[in-house]
Amino acid sequence: MTLNPFNIFEYIGEKFTLFLEELGGIFSTFLQSFGFIVVPPFRFRLFLKQMEFIGVESSFIVLLTGAFTGMVFALQTSYAFKLFGAENLIGPSVALSLTRELGPVLTALMVTGRVGSAMAAELGTMRVTEQIDALYTMSINPVQYLVTPRVSSSVVMLPMLTVLFDFIGIIGSYFMAVFLLGLNGERFINDTIYMVDLKDIYIGLLKAAVFGAIISVVGCYKGYFAEKGAEGVGKAATQAVVIASVSILIADYFLTALLF
């Protein structure tokens, strides 16, 4: 497209309209998928299947990243805290960062990479190969059949994965602090327990639930409305990851500002 100044406005306007359309589409998908939670038939098997896919099968990667995040964080903060002779703050600061911020966000980003893209690709393929139309012609609401189980199990599973992430992260930082930096283990635990509030954990989990909704709704939306062809499916998967990741970070800011 030529960069005619008049065209630029047209281009921006067009893009903005597209953006609004997308936002509206995502939001309507979200509303529909939630609405169908209370509308029979209840597809418990599909829900369970998605729980397995989103939760159980993501647990390994979440545990792995959680452990390393905790360890690296302990190592990094120890440099700063040593300057002040405040090594006893390593435990609390790792625990607080994990429960309040890093746990939910990193878990969500990991799951976005694994699950969000998979959802977009799966639904995209179903769209392209007319499986979604087939569902429709069999008098089965595709949103209820495909989107609702994914969204609801994401909302349930993200907080659970975050619990794992937080827990293994704190264990990782404990090992780092006690065995590598030579801090007193009991003191580490006591300081951590003393400084971390239940509120910190539960608000972190609430955030995770919101992130779960974002990941699944964006993934499903992108897949559900994928364009024709293999390229369309690939594009849907990529866009799902990008949009979900950015939305998670933006939502995190607002949630933090609102909830803490």
Partner: protein, 492 residues
């Protein structure tokens, strides 16, 4: 994916594990509370300054957490702090709530200092009456400034006392008097020695006679009195002399004591800043606070140590004792500042040259001979050194015995023994003063040392042996009972 378990089982295991962790963590964090239901009772405390306190700030007794701050409110310009205390922990009515800080930048916490006597426990909902807020930083700085001003005037008056011509004369006189007194006593002791011995022998014999020949005592009385008379007669002159000596000695002593008395009187009455400093209770408190505050500030979590040591060295050649009194301020383990006074009986040495002119009458020539003598007089000297420790070596330098100098100390592992060498007084002729010493810490507080001083000058070098006393601030606190009045001590 392994197909050992069904989807249901896998999801079930996952959810169970996660919920288990969540419950466990929840329970751990809310220890003392059961799922949000708070246990324990509350008491209130009013603080003038609750800066740095938060809800959940810990409440400690003897370093053990017994509760936390539940609520902070403003009431009549005071901070009304509600403390939640664990059930089973009682706090006496005479206890005191003190806001303390962990380290300089550390967080605040509340320490409950129990009263001396046992008292009725504060009932739930009651108030802890005695509280103490931390001095805030500005206040502390102001205090430090005030103290610094005081210190300056102290050092000024000290320099007047010791440095001025009048002061020097006073001290010289004092030492002269003491010296003379000692001389007198010495002479008295030697001259009366034989006579006294004989006297005591006689008295002994007399006692023996009395004991053995009790019944014959009367008959012997005349003889005894005769003997006694003879003794007195014989010793008449020396007794007189003795009395005279004692008299003059006591006079000297008297004068010395009078001098001392004037000084101590002045100090006692608070004349001059040093006197004020010693007598004013407020000053004492301020100094204590300032020093412990300073320690906290400068040292962070490690402490600013203050060490005072005294050492006397018996110098074999001069047959006298050289004394050292040093104040060591140690902000970190690897460096310290040393300030001290040295009393050296053979301290001041001046070299004078005497020219003797002899006229040879036979030849008509004039012969001149030159004699160089080193005059030694007593002198008070100052030490002011900076020291830096690198592994077992401590390098120090600055003013050593009122002259420029450098030194090195080598510590044995465990600091049981120290080998040190120093060079100072570079103007000394023909060579600067060189001193080498080995110190061994025999028991706590005591140091035994031996060495040689002024090694480089053949005529003046002397072996010495010494005994030292060494206290750090903790010892001093224990000794002077300062610990009781400290309010802002580091609590590490």
């Amino acid at each position: 994916m392994a197909k050992g378990f069904s989807t249901n089982a896998r999801v079930g295991v996952f959810v169970a594990v996660v919920l288990l962790i969540l419950f466990w963590v929840t329970f751990k964090i809310s220890s003392g509370t059961i799922f949000g239901r708070i246990q324990g009772y509350t008491i209130i405390a009013r603080f003038g300054n609750a800066q740095g306190l938060n809800t959940k700030t810990g409440v400690f007794i003897a370093g053990i957490k017994v509760g936390y701050v539940d609520d902070i409110k403003l009431q009549d310009d005071k901070a009304l702090v509600t403390l939640r205390i664990m059930p089973g922990v009682t706090i006496g009515e005479n206890a005191k709530a003190v806001i303390r800080t962990k380290g300089l930048l550390g967080e605040k916490y509340i320490e409950i200092v129990p009263g001396k006597e046992t008292a009725e426990p504060i009932k739930p909902g009651g108030q802890i009456i005695f509280t103490e807020s931390p001095p805030d930083f500005e206040e502390l700085m102001n205090k430090l400034q005030g103290i610094a001003t005081d210190m300056r005037s102290v050092s000024q008056s000290l320099s007047e006392v010791f440095g001025g011509s009048k002061g020097a004369r006073n001290i010289r006189e004092m030492y002269d008097n003491i010296n003379r007194t000692i001389n007198h006593i010495d002479r008295l002791m030697t001259s009366t020695n034989t006579n006294l011995n004989r006297t005591f022998d006689s008295v002994n014999a007399f006692a023996k006679v009395l004991k053995e020949q009790g019944p014959d005592i009367l008959t012997n009385l005349a003889q005894v009195s005769k003997q006694l008379h003879a003794i007195i007669d014989e010793n008449k002159e020396s007794v007189n002399k003795t009395m005279e000596n004692i008299n003059s000695a006591s006079k000297e002593l008297d004068r010395t004591l009078a001098n001392l008395e004037v000084i101590t009187q002045n100090l006692k009455e608070g004349k001059g800043t040093i006197g004020k400093l010693l007598t004013d209770k407020k000053t004492e408190e301020q100094v204590t606070k300032a020093i412990s505050g300073l320690s906290t500030m400068v040292g962070g979590t490690s402490r600013f140590r203050t060490i005072i040591n005294y050492r006397g060295e018996y110098q074999f050649k001069y047959n006298n004792v050289k004394s050292y009194l040093n104040l060591i301020l140690q902000p970190t383990m690897d460096k310290y500042y040393l300030l001290g006074i040295v009393d050296d009986p053979s301290g001041y040495s001046s070299t004078s040259t005497t020219y003797t002119t002899v006229e040879n009458l036979n030849t008509g020539t004039v012969q001149q001979t030159q004699t160089m003598t080193r005059n030694i007089t007593e002198q008070l000297k100052l030490n002011a050194e900076l020291a830096k420790r690198i592994s077992y070596f401590t390098f120090r330098g600055g003013i050593i015995e009122s002259t420029g100098g450098v030194g090195v100390d080598i510590d044995s592992p465990g600091n049981l023994a120290q080998l040190s060498a120093e060079v100072y007084d570079f103007n000394q002729k023909p060579n600067p003063k060189v001193k080498a010493m080995l110190s061994i810490s025999i028991i706590r507080y005591f140091l035994l040392s031996a060495g040689m001083s002024d090694i480089a000058n053949k005529d003046y070098r002397t072996w010495f042996m010494g005994l030292g006393l060494r206290f750090d601030d903790q010892d001093l606190k224990n000794i002077f009972g300062l610990a009781a009045s400290t309010t802002y001590v580091n609590t590490k």
